[in-house]
Symmetry: C2
Subunit: 259 residues, 2 copies
Amino acid sequence: MKTLIVYAHPEPRSLNGSLKDLAVATLEKAGHEVRVSDLYAMRWKAVVDAGDFGPSASSPLKVAADSGRAFDTGTLTPDVLAEQEKLLWADMIIFQFPMWWYTMPAILKGWVDRVFTYHFAYGVGEHSDVKYGERFGEGTLAGRRALLSVTVGGPESHYAERGINGPIDDLLFPIQHGILYYPGIEVLPPFVLYGSDRVTDEDFPDIAKAWEQRLLTLESTEPIAFRRQNFGDYEIPSLHLKEGLEPPGRSGFRLHVRP
Amino acid sequence: MKTLIVYAHPEPRSLNGSLKDLAVATLEKAGHEVRVSDLYAMRWKAVVDAGDFGPSASSPLKVAADSGRAFDTGTLTPDVLAEQEKLLWADMIIFQFPMWWYTMPAILKGWVDRVFTYHFAYGVGEHSDVKYGERFGEGTLAGRRALLSVTVGGPESHYAERGINGPIDDLLFPIQHGILYYPGIEVLPPFVLYGSDRVTDEDFPDIAKAWEQRLLTLESTEPIAFRRQNFGDYEIPSLHLKEGLEPPGRSGFRLHVRP
């Protein structure tokens, strides 16, 4: 298994840093190839701008169109090209990050904004009466799997079905479905560590054991059963889920997971 | 009305730039004071790191604790202090941004990550049997209102109740409830412009008219009825919504809006 770890924390000696180090050690010991994009250590530029597109930047700047032309003509900035190449190399992608304000840190969002260019991650495939591009189950990154490993400051109850923050699956849906499944990546259930602000050195062995267990069973773990876009579940082009496909009472983001 | 506009787009001649310019002109003409944080023009640093906390940065770095100590002792970096001061000055905050990958651009997430420090936006107030800090309806920014003005590339149907991307209200919930309502800001229903990739110069007058109408009625618009945390709707400290408060069949994020 070729694994890319995309890691976003400013402190190497943090819980996130330890989980990343443990993932590298565990996977390599099990015979897998591992590459790491340590965004803080790389001083990753978080902000999309004209500099990303080289001679393909138009004036006025058109972010989507210009990124697609830069992708097509090989004029994307080298740091973005390197990350696209890593994604194409990998068959497993692990994202290690702290949840800040209910989603990923800005540096990781900037990795998505810059690396997931038009014609690479979106704007792929033809539109017809039966197909609305290649996305949500198809796309450039099909055949790959991903896993979010997330530390969360608050306690699990706040992220439960009736918890004030909303259910963790719904908070992660825009990432797991909207960012990862969109270009074709299958997404494994996340590894979520709650109460991370209160983790002590004494807690770490149990956490490490649980994380190792997830890491060593990645290949046999079933992905989340998101519905594929172009295979009969949705009206085209409205992309409404057809009536009657969901269990009674299900609504919101969960409509898009097969029962 | 003192309005702060936080604006995140790299191209001044973009649709987002035009909507921001129109907001400034419309509000000033109506006699309101307006300040703008143009994040790209300011070359806003998007990434939290030790540099934000000056002498309060510890080693190893503790993002939450260090940001709180830096806030308490006045040693936050000047760019962050300036934004906190603008938030305290404002009684209305408008966020103008394109939806990229189902949420805000990295530069704006980095504004949240860096400006919403511990002891300013979270970690405020006491915990007791009847109170879990001052948040979700209370907090440093109580008494202020906010509005998201968002451009969305895809068509409205994809963001409808059964649309493949999920309902727009659910996609914006982590921002509107998790980021804005958390430190006490009341949130007005968003201004969402769909199909923004296909907007032409001929479309703009109608868009401008709709936007002006929203801008000129900000003071009379009812905010989203998010439930307050400490006023009886939630068990403390689990922060589970008490049973029976919601209409039958309601689940997910919508539990946290009063019927």
